[in-house]
């Protein structure tokens, strides 16, 4: 279904208010875009939240329009999109395996060496692996585990990403806004004199 489509990563910075996600998702819905992954967390700046959303599209124009519509919302500070070349990105995955089956298989070391997994838990009932990586890497481990040991539970996080470019769009935007605020205050002071 997503053949010939590009995966775009949309980064959004918003004020931390109720209902922002709703405002964002309705814009995706109106354009009939499926959200592939979603990750939301407080950003480096207090009071500002960062959304990282991925979606497939065959038309970059649609992405341009999409981010402009998101950017336009009052509670959104900045929205932009990138493709994978522009980004360092990562996903996390957790794998729950039966301890008994792992013992039958024989080697945890194999997975640690081959996939660089971390072992988070070993109990009588289960072993839990953690793997960070790109989709193909977490998926690769899942497939191998599923075919050899069997996976009791599997979960993958949404993508998180940072841009490689030296342009920092949020800080630039905030600096501009601060400048604008100063001007507004000056103008108001002059007009009230």
């Amino acid at each position: 279904m997503n053949e010939n489509k590009t995966l775009y990563t949309i980064t959004i910075f918003s004020e931390n208010t109720v209902g922002v996600l709703n405002q964002i998702t309705t814009i995706f819905t109106r354009r009939q875009l499926n959200i592939e992954t979603l990750s939301v967390s407080p950003s480096a700046i207090e009071g500002i939240h960062k959304f990282t959303i991925t979606t497939f599209s065959d038309d970059e124009e649609v992405m341009k329009k999409l981010v402009r519509l998101i950017d336009k919302r009052v509670d959104i500070l900045k929205a932009y999109y990138n493709t994978d070349e522009d980004l360092v990105h990562q996903e996390l995955a957790l794998y729950k395996l039966s301890t008994e089956k792992v013992m039958e298989h024989g080697s945890i070391e194999y997975f640690v060496r081959k996939y660089n997994v971390r072992v988070l838990e070993v109990s009588v009932d289960c072993v839990v692996f953690l793997k960070a990586g790109h989709f193909v890497e977490t998926q690769g481990l899942f497939e191998e585990l599923a075919s050899t040991i069997g996976v009791l539970q599997f979960v993958r996080s949404g993508r998180i990403a940072i841009t490689k470019s030296k342009v920092e769009r949020l800080s630039d935007m905030l600096a501009k806004r601060e400048e604008h605020k100063k001007k507004t205050i000056e103008l108001n002071t002059i007009s009230s004199l």
């Binding site: 209902g19 329009k65 336009k72 500070l77 604008h180 507004t184």
Partner: protein, 583 residues
């Protein structure tokens, strides 16, 4: 700065702090924002606010409508003619959901409006309480901003922010949903108007290099053509636009909402764009070499098929909303910003030009349109009365000075085609959403927004019956509006499409109508029904001379057609003229 023009003299910011109830804080905040008129309807969850309003009757006039849809449309009509923010006050649940159509309409047509809805107690939220509706969830996609106030402390700043957002930049509707306990509880009141939000840039700065590129492109044009939208009116840039067009010798067409920005008789005015617009501006859009769009959004009713739209032209787009640039039509030069700022910057760099040959080309099509359509529509000598004929007689009788309010349908197209204007903010119509039922309540609001002007409301027999209960509001407050009902006993526009595109299968479009004059009479509105052409002029004179509201019902041609017509989704060069004529 921009907002100061848009509101009445402002009461100085309250500096001393007082302890007040949430309801009183709300009312005081409205007063501080210069609000003098509110359209509304009370109900359980908003009663404390109505109670507080009782003590502020001298400061805020409340108009009790007969249905919440009417309140919102009236607030829209008020805002559209007055440059102020329209305000509607409704209760929770059904009160708020009845307001949805008008909120959506205001979003589509960029109308500054604040809708305040009551909400159940904050402790009951989410419990399916009596008259609880998820108003924020419903209105988020159809508002510029929607916010639920659960604590009395949040009322003052939220109202301040609401008015700032509604009026600044590209205006739009804002919803404030106030829980009943927030209305009842008390806190300190200290009002500050909002002038800055870090996440919101209402007016992008005009970039000088874009201005230069635009001016160079226009100076190089042999056949420039401008498209004027409502952005010019909303930005109070009518004079700046006129200076720009005159210096460049640039003919222009208006979108339906851009009508009246420049007087109808201006020599560069080529009329209306779009599906039922004038022939010349549509044809010339596809012949010009530089197309200059100002404060308009290339709606599909204006462009028809985008694949064939102005492909030969270089496009310059002026707009305050960045999201409109390159949305539908790819531009050569984008000039983001306030037209009141950007247009004079471009005008300064323009060379004085006239394009006599290019302009003469419009006249050929104007003549054709006159001969094939207009002559017979406005000056028929026999047969049933025509809609255009009525509109023309009304505009003439008002010296083109009235405000024209319309509902939606054939009469709307006739009114927008044939009504004439000599000042801005003279056309109030539902453009983007096409809301039947808009006309009567919007006309009521327009009268409050411009009490010194004559308000002529054109309605059809279908649309009138969608909000006819507002006759009650007219009666109650003695509102002087002139209602011109163009009655063809059909849902005329749908019937027209059935005739043209559905093999004349008139599915559910014939209306069996009441005696409208009797209905009006029941509400104390003077009325007269005209069926003969000879009576028409005198009846219009009687209506305009009458002191008070008046319903003039004109029985018009049953199967009248609005021509010219660009069939939906077709090229704007492919225009139907009707009656066997072709271009």
């Amino acid at each position: 700065m921009e907002r100061d023009k848009q509101t009445q003299p402002i009461i100085a910011p309250v500096t001393e702090t007082e302890t007040l109830s949430g309801s009183e804080i709300l009312i005081r905040a409205l007063v501080a924002e210069g609000v003098d008129t509110v359209f509304g309807y009370p109900g359980g969850a908003i009663m404390p606010v109505f109670d507080a309003l009782y003590d502020y009757k001298e400061r805020i006039k409340h108009i009790l409508v007969r249905h919440e849809q009417g309140a919102v449309h009236a607030a829209q009509g008020y805002a559209r003619v007055s440059e102020k923010v329209g305000v509607a006050l409704v209760t929770s649940g059904p009160g708020a959901t009845n307001a949805i159509t008008g909120i959506t309409d205001a979003m589509m047509d960029s109308t500054p409006m604040v809708v305040i809805s009551g909400q159940v107690n904050s402790s009951l939220l989410g419990s399916d309480a009596f008259q609880e509706a998820d108003v924020i969830g419903v209105t988020l996609p159809i508002t510029k901003w929607a916010y639920q106030i659960r604590r009395v402390e949040d009322i003052a700043w939220a109202v301040s922010r609401a008015f700032y957002i509604a009026a600044s930049g590209r205006p739009g509707p804002v919803v404030l949903d106030i829980a009943k306990d927030a209305q009842v509880n008390s806190c300190d009141f200290n009002y500050q108007r909002t002038t800055f939000l870090r996440s919101y840039q209402p007016v992008p700065d005009v970039e000088k290099d874009r201005v230069k590129m635009a001016a160079e492109l226009i100076n190089s044009a042999k056949k420039p053509f401008a498209l004027v939208g409502q952005g010019v009116i909303l930005g109070n840039a009518e004079e700046e636009l006129q200076a720009f067009l005159e210096k460049g010798g640039i003919p222009f067409g208006s979108t339906i909402l851009g009508l009246s920005a420049i007087p109808s008789d201006h020599p560069l005015n080529q009329g209306m764009l779009g599906m039922h617009g004038n022939v010349a501006p549509n044809i010339k859009t596809n012949e010009c070499d530089v197309l200059i769009a100002i404060g308009m959004r290339f709606d599909d009713r204006v462009t028809g098929d985008l694949k064939t739209y102005a492909k030969q032209a270089k496009v310059i787009h002026f707009d305050i909303d960045m999201a409109e640039l390159d949305k539908n039509v790819k531009t050569t030069v984008k000039v983001a910003g306030d037209a009141k700022v950007s247009l004079p910057m471009v005008t300064e760099l323009l060379e004085e030009r006239a394009h006599p040959e290019w302009l003469a080309g419009f006249e050929t099509y104007d003549q054709k349109e006159y001969d094939c359509i207009i002559k017979n529509e406005l000056y028929p000598e026999s047969g049933e009365i025509k809609m255009g004929e009525v509109v023309n007689k009304v505009t003439e009788a008002t010296n083109n000075e009235a405000i024209c309010v319309t509902d939606v349908g054939q009469h709307q197209m006739m009114a927008t085609r044939y009504f004439k204007y000599n000042q801005s903010r003279s056309m109030v119509t539902s453009g983007g959403l096409g809301t039947m039922g808009f006309g009567l309540p919007a006309g009521i609001g327009a009268k409050y927004g411009a009490p010194d002007r004559t308000v002529c409301i054109f309605v059809g027999d279908g649309g009138l019956q969608m909000t006819m209960h507002e006759f009650g509001t007219i009666m109650d407050y003695g509102i002087d509006v002139k209602i011109i009902l163009l009655n063809n006993n059909f849902l005329g526009m749908v019937r027209q499409w059935q005739e043209l595109f559905f093999d004349e299968r008139y599915s559910e479009t014939r209306l069996k109508n009441p005696d409208f004059i009797k209905v009006a009479d029941a509400y104390g509105i003077k009325g007269r029904k005209v069926t003969e052409r000879e009576e028409l002029g005198e009846a219009i004179a009687e209506m305009l001379g009458h002191n008070g509201s008046y319903l003039l019902e004109v029985v018009v041609e049953t199967k009248g057609m609005v021509y010219p017509m660009v069939p939906s989704g077709g090229s704007i060069s492919n225009i139907l003229l009707g009656n066997g004529h072709s271009l």
